[in-house]
């Protein structure tokens, strides 16, 4: 009887060897006592245990050859578990804090077995399971199940392996994901006889295995990804993994589509769209991916600038390549390469203790500031409005503010009273006086050039009292004489509003009406503008 069993055992081992190969199947001699702890500790990382095991078994093999009785040996099969799509690690730090991470694969679990002489006629093989991501209790449940599915005279190891591979997660009700908690593992437990936890000496709970799982997942996951065939979710292209890019969020699209996303969006300055296209996924592309696919070098530079800006840095005004940190308290910057510090509001050198010319805007909340056609967000970003409504969102710090009055943290209900949602700034009379920025605003309906400095002056809302930013003086729009107050219009034939009947316009006068659109009015003097658009 034993002889018969013995030949069955030999046969089964040969078959298993040929199926799983040297990578997954290994054998070793059973020591005097079965040291589950040692086995467990060796197995925690798949690479290191390989060398340990093979060293030991080689030695014995060379000594005792084929006569080595099979009952003196134990065998180990590494089993990679099939995991369903969208499988997650559920990390439970305590009762309330928990988060999940998607993974593609889990480290192998080890099935150790040895054959008693009564196998397969009367007894099941002796089993030992170890893994780093299952609790002792769960592994013991699995073990009991494995013993229970053995039937008399059955060569059962292949069936075990297959069951573990496909049904393990379902059996333990881990279809959606495995749970890692920080409950300490009981190292004194009686279960250690049958099952083992593959762990490093410093590990205390299942949660300690998280870094190992992550690194295994990123290496092995990528390897498997490249081997398998993939489908692009944008263009439905189907091809081998090497033609695809796998992002850190584990979503993937084909290289052509990555290239399009990178180049089209960076070209149109839509930097925030350079991200994983999966809906609801916010993972932006790694810089390496962008570098790999970008076609124009200057585009890459602009993208890198955007990344710096989104980190809250602003470009230094003095040295070309420098990037400055922003101090929000003093509203100043500090360049790490040339040590220059400038005021983020007026763009002049930092002036501690001296009020900034540009900070007083008719009592609006001083979180955003005007500079001509740009606004400065407190985070230091310069904001330009190109189109759309007046509810603005800073693309750097996400603060919402009103383009017209600069009030921050507003919503749509802010509009409709003083500020309109759709209104160009020129249409609104801020009045206010005394402040160069806010003065002289109304619909620009005509322009002429200043007789003194040739700067273009704009007429607003039909009012002939115009202001020249070049010479900082007020003129009569009609006769171009410097005036003070409104006395000029009473004493001369010039009218204060509109076109008089008897008046000849020369070529410098230009009227905007009908479909003609007025050019952007200039609100601030030229030298500040030059600084801005440098």
């Amino acid at each position: 009887m034993d002889e018969e069993n013995y030949s069955y055992q030999i046969q089964e081992i040969e078959v298993l060897k040929s199926i799983y190969g040297e990578d997954l199947f290994s054998e070793q001699l059973i020591n005097d006592k079965h040291q589950s702890h040692d086995v467990g500790q060796q197995e925690c990382s798949n690479d290191s245990d390989d060398s340990d095991d093979s060293d030991g078994s080689d030695e014995f093999n060379s000594l005792s050859l084929e006569e080595q009785h099979i009952s003196k040996k134990s065998f180990n099969i590494k089993i990679s578990i099939d995991i369903p799509k969208d499988f997650q690690i559920i990390v439970k730090e305590d009762q309330e804090n928990k988060y999940t991470q998607s993974i593609l694969c889990l480290p192998n679990i080890n099935l150790l077995f040895s054959f008693p002489s009564e196998y397969p006629s009367n007894k099941p093989p002796k089993l030992f399971i170890s893994s780093c991501w299952l609790s002792l209790g769960n592994m013991n449940l699995v073990l009991e199940h494995l013993y229970s599915i053995w039937e008399k005279d059955e060569l059962v190891i292949f069936k075990y392996v297959d069951w573990l591979k496909t049904n393990l997660l379902q059996f333990l009700q881990f279809e959606k994901g495995i749970v890692l908690d920080n409950e300490p593992v009981d190292f004194e437990s009686a279960l250690w006889k049958n099952v083992g936890w593959d762990h490093d000496p410093s590990w205390v709970s299942l949660l300690s295995a998280l870094p190992t799982l992550r690194s295994y997942n990123s290496h092995e996951g990528r390897r498997l990804f490249l081997l398998n065939s993939q489908v692009c979710s944008i263009c439905d292209y189907e091809g081998c993994g090497q033609e695809f890019t796998l992002f850190n969020c584990l979503h993937h699209i084909c290289n052509d589509c990555v290239s399009n996303i990178v180049n089209i969006n960076i070209k149109s300055n839509d930097f925030s769209s350079v991200k994983c296209p999966e809906l609801k996924c916010k993972e932006s592309f790694d810089l390496e991916v962008v570098e790999k696919f970008i076609e124009k070098k200057e585009d890459l530079k602009r993208y890198e600038d955007y990344l710096k800006q989104s980190k809250g840095l602003v470009r230094c005004l003095r040295c070309e390549r420098g990037w400055s940190h922003v101090d929000h308290l003093t509203r100043s910057t500090y360049c790490t390469s040339c040590y220059y510090s400038f005021c983020i509001v007026c763009r002049g050198p930092f002036h501690p203790g001296v009020a900034c010319n540009f900070t007083k805007i008719e009592g609006a909340v001083l979180s955003k500031f005007y500079i001509g056609q740009l606004r400065v967000c407190l985070c230091g970003a310069l904001i330009e409005r190109i189109s759309g409504c007046n509810k603005m969102t800073c693309s750097v710090c996400n603060t919402k503010f009103c383009w017209l009055c600069s009030k921050s943290n507003i919503d749509y209900d802010h509009f409709g009273k003083k500020c309109q949602l759709f209104e160009i700034p020129g249409e609104r009379n801020r009045g206010g006086g005394g402040n160069r920025v806010g003065r002289n605003i109304g619909v620009v309906d005509a322009s002429t050039s200043c007789s003194k400095c040739r700067q273009i002056v704009y007429r607003h809302s039909n009012t002939n009292s115009v202001y020249c930013h070049g010479c900082d003086a007020r003129y009569c729009f009609l006769c171009k004489v410097q005036i003070k107050g409104t006395r000029h219009f009473i004493q001369t034939s010039c009218t204060q509003n509109g076109k008089p009947d008897s008046w000849k316009a020369d070529r410098t006068y230009k009227f905007y009406g009908g479909n003609e659109t007025a050019p952007e009015p200039i609100y601030i003097n030229q030298d500040v503008r030059h600084q801005l658009f440098r």
């Binding site: 979710s233 589509c257 399009n260 089209i264 969006n265 769209s273 749509y412 309109q420 949602l421």
Partner: protein
């Protein structure tokens, strides 16, 4: 460009094969990048029984840039202005994975559930928020008058 054509071709055949009951889409001429669609006003809304014609323009960069949508039929809706443009914020979270059917679904969903927080016509949004009956009445009148 090649991308746009290939994908539009497939999306168009998909849509023709299995058209939703409430929308009828066709090409303008032979140009794959210009579509017109007529959307049935959803039941239970003031737009019920109306048929709204929409122009859909696909840029060369499609699907990496969103299509431009324009209502040809006049409609009284807080998110759609008198020129038929739809507030950009509705499509601000564009993703290349979205398809024409998603766009049409979005249009339907703003017809069912106008979003006064992202108004394109502030006045209509105000009325929508404060006086729903008046809004419904005007919207119905518009539907009756223009969306036949």
């Amino acid at each position: 460009m090649a991308n746009a054509t290939k994908r539009l071709q497939r999306e168009y055949t998909d849509l023709v094969k299995a058209p939703p009951t409430w929308v009828n889409a066709s090409l303008v001429g032979d140009n794959l990048q210009k579509w017109k669609a007529s959307v049935q006003g959803p039941e239970g809304t003031p737009y019920e029984k109306g048929t709204f014609n929409i122009d859909i323009d696909f840029p060369n960069e499609y699907p990496f840039k969103p299509p431009t949508i324009k209502f040809i039929t006049k409609i009284y809706h807080p998110n759609i202005n008198s020129e038929g443009q739809i507030c950009a914020e509705v499509f601000s979270s564009w993703s290349p994975q979205l398809k024409v059917t998603d766009v049409l679904n979005t249009i339907r969903s703003i017809l069912v559930d106008p979003n006064p927080e992202n108004p394109l016509d502030a006045e209509i949004a105000q009325i929508f928020k404060t006086d729903r009956n008046a809004f419904n009445k005007t919207a119905k009148e518009y539907t009756k008058k223009y969306a036949k």
